[in-house]
Symmetry: C2
Subunit: 266 residues, 2 copies
């Protein structure tokens, strides 16, 4: 509760000295969400074991992650929930407000613009852009769709540092280039394309079909080793009859076999 014997006055024990490990950064938001849930339920103090359980990670890992921010726990007791929320938020840069621009107001862009969890944590939709005149002017939730010609202007005027790309793949690189040229240094890309950016620009991708393919791999592996423990001498047979579903084209084995319906997705 009261911070006990800490050096008083927001010590920031371990200020800006060392860089947070990337793996830690990617877990902090999860901790933050679990902590927010606890705070809401009136929990005042939490141990590393409890928090780790809630976040689905090893408690040693959690403690090490938090230790990179400073020494904010109380031995024998745990962590003060509110204080930890503040420290994690600060580390992530969420004590300030981040205006975001979304480019592409199709199915996905509209879903994003409608999404409540967007605004709840320091992010604000500064603009929603599309190139289709038929859509421009309509209203999604609270934001109006503007024409993508205004991209540069809006970014500069609202000091936007984060851009979200929800256009078809074909337009993504061009949009990305414009975003970067206008000063955006962080991009979240939903288009199924590898974006090329200059050094110093940070791109993250969210890619549904990649996630599904990874899941498919594991599903296949699991069902393969359930149906038959990988004994030494089965070579080709192991990949067929492996999964539950039906095999469409019986895996011909020559160079010419384009086994994937190679349509470039919209």
């Amino acid at each position: 509760m009261s911070r006990g014997s800490l050096p008083q006055f927001d010590p920031g024990d371990r200020p800006a000295g060392e860089r947070l490990p990337e793996a830690t950064v990617s877990r902090l938001p999860v901790y933050l969400r679990v902590l927010a849930g606890m705070a809401e339920r009136g929990v005042v103090t939490v141990s590393s074991d409890q928090l780790a359980a809630g976040a689905g990670v090893n408690s040693a890992k959690l403690r090490k992650d938090l230790s990179h921010l400073g020494s904010y726990g109380i031995r024998g007791v745990g962590y003060d929930v509110d204080y930890l929320i503040y420290q994690v938020s600060r580390a992530l840069g969420l004590t300030q407000d981040w205006p975001v621009v979304i480019v592409g107001a199709g199915n996905l862009g509209r879903a994003l613009a409608n999404y409540g969890g967007f605004v709840t944590r320091g992010f604000r939709i500064a603009a929603l852009l599309d190139s289709d005149p038929a859509i421009v002017g309509s209203r999604i939730g609270r934001v109006a769709v503007r024409h993508s010609d205004e991209l540069e202007d809006l970014i500069v005027r609202h000091k936007v540092a984060i851009g979200v790309i929800a256009t078809p793949g074909g337009a993504a690189q061009a949009v990305c280039d414009r975003l970067v040229a206008a000063g955006v240094t962080s991009i979240l890309n939903f288009a199924p394309v590898v974006l090329n950016v200059a050094e110093g620009v940070d791109v993250r991708k969210v890619d549904l079909s990649i996630e599904l393919q990874i899941l498919a791999f594991h599903a296949q592996r699991r069902s393969a080793e359930r149906n038959g423990p990988p004994s030494e001498d089965e070579l080709r047979t192991v990949s067929e009859g492996a999964g539950l579903p039906s095999v469409p084209g019986g895996a011909s084995r020559l160079s010419t076999a384009a086994a994937v319906p190679s349509a470039a997705e919209a």
Copy 2:
């Protein structure tokens, strides 16, 4: 072109012996996509340098990744595009067809159901479910929304192994439990919740606000070190005035400061 002196007959040089490293698995879909684009443009052969450039990775890494599947390159030449597509597809388990069930037909669920890139690679929407009677019966793209009571039945009948959760966070764990009980072992979760599952079930999450928070962290770090190289003695000041945007509530420093608008997102 013709496979030259390879041991004939789909050798599968390195059959099912070793496990693919997880990091490799997560990159194979990217290679596959780039390869598909090349095949479509009529490219017959590709070197590791070219493919690596297209996928945005180091070429040594790419070669090592592919070497885990077997030895399918030709020294001095490169890789046969079609043949490599086939091999990567096979490794990922995409030579078979995977029926998928989507639970939750809200903004996101509808966007997913409409999404073309879904079907293009071996995935098929076997069912789209919702609990809201007002939505059940409507049609999204080609699939009709069914009531979530039918979940177990549909999963068993269609031999569904992959489930996608697009419900509000509150319903996600319950939906997850039902999916698993019905036999689903791979889950893609869009709800902002940590799912608890039994050993042997594979969960991947796609979480917009986590991605944004990670981007915010890097954006903050960049602008911090642009505005002032982290000199030794600034402690508290480094986090303020760091970013471009405005700081809303001036970071009070006591335990009671709940610095984050801790609303649990819908």
